[in-house]
Subunit: 429 residues, 3 copies
């Protein structure tokens, strides 16, 4: 749970930064993440830059916002929650009646207690988000609406970090830094990536594979990143994961790639075997940046990993997505899943048995010497592992084939390699 | 329902022609169909001509038939129903006792009210078909049996019609003209084919693909047609459908090809998605001319399409297969299924997205600008369509992959092509 | 049932030989089997010989063994059951107290009435096996333990028999001769193989394929055999079966090969269609010599065949595995399954229809001439067989495709070949 608690602490620190797809909330978030891993590099893109079918939008900054009744009472104050402001609201300072104000107030119809998260990045608009209960309490009369924001040409920031390995083949983790004051979606992804970076640097100072981490605003960020690096990514990335909603402790979710069954899909399936409440979603149920990474003509070998997937939990995109939802053990569970996959890559993926026929396991102390059907002889994992150690099945394949969690398979590989019974190769034999 | 009503009217006109695999009933039927589409060409084959393992049988004509009791009362009169005569009965005019008559009378054991449809094309025989109720009423005594038929060397007719397109690749529709006075099996097929011909000529006067329609006696007709045209059919036909029992409104049936999963199978599956009561039959449940078109060494990419499949509805091959079974809406449903497939071919099968990553849909007015999880944002079909528009998946593949009816997929393709977001190709990219 | 009764008689004769993986019990067993088929060749391997990761163990012989209470009463006498002695027990002649004796006594915890079968081939040990009931009756006091055995350098025997066919391609049957005084596991395998040899020699004196039969001690025997013949086996064996527990009459079991779907898997599936209580086990549930034959780098096209699989019946590896478990009809069932497979190979595997389109079956008397939906027209097997007689589907493939037992498929092939409608080829066309 060590990692889980550290990740939770980072999330608390990051909670109040007013994140959006651009602006000072993003900048301060990236600065904080660079504090955790100093190799993080921040990249800046000018508003208006064309990225595939999109343009980098104007930079938006929010400083203050509230609605003030003629009585002086204030509502929907930004200082109380970053969610109160419709993302990318234009600046405003004017008096209007309640009737004309109401169409600009967004609520969450299925839960009167929570503030929804609403944005309007690509069309001029303004608005406030409130709980339905609070909205219903707005007194009649005149209101002053104050939005101290800026939306103008500026920059969009994103960051990446590359851990160079012996091989140029890359494992790529991507996550978001554009969601304000929500926990699972999405402070959980950036802190998980930060913890994984620290793990790789500590555990594999001379790693076999190259690891790439990206911290991006969703959609426009990944499109921008792909627009700049597509060639190199297509050449190098062998396995990628989109990390989103990785902090609650309810389910483990796999959003399959567009065509299904790439290396990332196989790896994630193997790492999820025997965990509780595993859910597989087809690509038709995607909704995060695997949309871009797997798009036709991009086709990176990505899939999506979540605990409870975006859209599948009631607190999603509301003020209720907080530290009641995300827990240290939830984050730790995600860390362990990704750690196993990294461990498998680093130990080399393709085991091959060094002898013909089954090895004489009892000779190595790897099996009982008395054969009796009632002595618990639980070496099925071992003999099944060996049966598929043909240099053609990866550790992920074996795990999926013998239906044992990747961790157990890695443990068997470690033990059998120690006894000289298998050799591990980084390419199929 | 426009097409459905026209097809029903044609069926009424064709009802009384005494069809069999040869003879004047076939000739008058083909003449009527040529009245609908004048390009229809009738081909004549001499009795005794060898066609693969078969020989064109003698021509059979039936003019009159009845059983007359010594009292003068007549039974099983051809003038009341074409089904009363055992198909290919030899001519006869003799007196016999009831005892010796009864073995020549065929009934439908599971329904005492209907006349069964029975034939004996390839062995000399004579007989009558009656409802069990009527058979039981035959009084004791002597009978005169009168069959005014001819069975002698002559010709077998069949017809085809080819609509030449820009490409030599053909879509082939085959159906029967050998069934007397039954509606679903088989006046429905010939009228559906006739309506499809009119649709293609009106909608696609310069069609991309070439369309071939055949109107044949079942089995011997398709064998004859294949015997004459096998080389050219194997070179050109890319997709074929056997149309039989396409007029009732109860189910939609797909009889899979011999090896499954050819272009016709994929197309039909796509066009049936979300219709009510869709049934997939394996090739083991075939029973129509897909038997010949898919036979080893012929192997045209055919499958079978029916509403309720032959053999699967109680009225099948009896006098109850009438206009209570076949309806305008039933025929219209079949028309719509085949029309979608033609539309897909004509719009070109392989869409390819023109941009990398997801397009910025809201820029084109193809998506809401406010992102809020409770605004009904039903653009799943659109984004799923785009996700598989990689130039490799056909419109049929996409439909089957994203589980949306081919019509919806065609609508998306039309819209996205209009906005310049996709290009459609007639071959895989 | 002819074969079944002969096999049962052989088993009775072989019952008392004190089999283990080496020693005089094996030698006398092989001598008896050579009496049935004189071409059997016995091969001898010196203790200590390295075979892949293993060494041929010392030869073990057992002559007498018992426990004698100070009162003179004897227990666990070898002369009463070969199972009383722990396999490979060291010689012993000493007095010990009950307390020190008990840890050397093995029982079957889930059944107090039976003697378990226990061995310790590869670690020095001694012990007795008793029913729990008998163990509980051992009186207090001193015991003399007598084991008159030898465990010392010597030989391990195994045998094979090859029936040379016109083709060098081999069908390989392997079974065990190392189990003492148990019926299903494993006297059933050796007698089945013996009966199959007689069948092939009688039925196919000039066989098309070459047949190889091996009679081995389990594990070490097959490893030794593979160690000596691997190259030739990999070149020649096209289909192999491990025969074990083939004598009871409860189920038919198929243990799939490592990668699944090899020729042996397809053949066995075809031969089991429509039998009662067929169970398919994945390779993860293996436990017999398919472990060696399918191991990585060996990869012979083997699968396992059993009636009720080892480990899946309560009498397995106990004194209850006797002639109440194995019956003549159980053995006959196994014989018939393997016989069909041999028949299919010998008739040549790939039928190809000689005509295009469906043949005119009624012309050959192979179909009714009157077509009436209520005349039972059960020619589905025939027309389905023809539909897949394309020279590409083997008799096994066709059987699995049309879901008819291999026997029926062979009968159709025989009939259609007689009428000149198909030609059978021994290689895919």
């Amino acid at each position: 749970m060590n990692q889980g608690n550290r990740m939770i602490n980072w999330m608390h620190d990051l909670w109040d930064y007013p994140r959006s797809i651009t602006g000072h909330g993003v900048r301060s978030t990236l600065k904080y993440l660079k504090g955790i891993n100093s190799e993080l590099e921040v990249h800046s893109y000018k508003s208006g830059t064309k990225v595939f079918d999109w343009k980098i939008p104007y930079e938006w900054n929010i400083y203050n916002a509230y609605i003030e009744h003629e009585s002086g009472e204030r509502f929907a104050e930004l200082s109380e929650s970053n969610l109160h402001i419709l993302g990318y609201s234009l600046p405003l300072n004017k008096s209007i009646s309640l009737d004309r104000l109401l169409p600009h107030i967004y609520i969450q119809p299925d839960n009167p207690d929570v503030i929804p998260y609403v944005t309007s990045y690509y069309a001029d608009n303004w608005g406030f988000c409130m709980s339905e209960n609070d909205k219903n309490k707005l007194p009649c009369g005149e209101y002053k609406v104050v939005i101290e924001s800026e939306k103008k040409p500026g920059n969009m920031e994103l960051a990446d970090l590359i851990i160079q390995g012996k091989k140029s083949e890359e494992i790529f983790f991507s996550t978001y830094i554009c969601h304000p004051s929500m926990a699972n979606n999405e402070l959980s992804g950036p802190v998980l990536s930060s913890a994984l970076i620290q793990y790789i640097k500590a555990e594999y100072p001379e790693s076999l594979y190259t690891y790439r981490f990206a911290f991006l605003p969703e959609t426009i960020g990944s499109i921008t990143y792909l627009s700049e690096h597509l060639d190199i990514l297509q050449k190098r990335v062998v396995c990628g994961f989109n990390l989103s909603c990785v902090g609650d402790d309810r389910a483990y979710s796999h959003v399959e790639s567009r065509l299904g069954n790439n290396l990332a899909d196989n790896a994630l399936k193997a790492s999820l075997i025997d965990l509780s409440n595993v859910v597989e979603y087809s690509f038709l149920e995607r909704g995060s940046d695997e949309r871009q990474y797997c798009s036709p003509g991009v086709d990176l070998p990505f899939c999506g990993f979540s605990r409870t997937k975006y859209g599948e939990y009631p607190e999603y995109h509301t003020s209720a997505d907080n530290f009641d939802v995300v827990t240290a053990s939830g984050l730790q569970g995600s860390f362990d899943v990704m750690k196993s996959i990294i461990d498998a890559f680093e130990m080399k993926l393709f085991p091959k048995i060094n002898v013909k026929c089954e090895p004489h396991l009892s000779k190595y102390g790897l099996r009982n010497t008395v054969s009796h059907k009632n002595i618990l002889d639980d070496i099925h994992t071992r003999s099944d592992f060996i049966a598929y150690s043909d240099g053609k099945h990866s550790l992920f394949d074996i795990s999926n084939k013998i239906k044992k969690n990747l961790d157990l398979v890695i443990a068997e590989a470690t033990l059998l390699e120690k006894h000289g019974l298998i050799t591990l190769f980084d390419v199929q034999q």
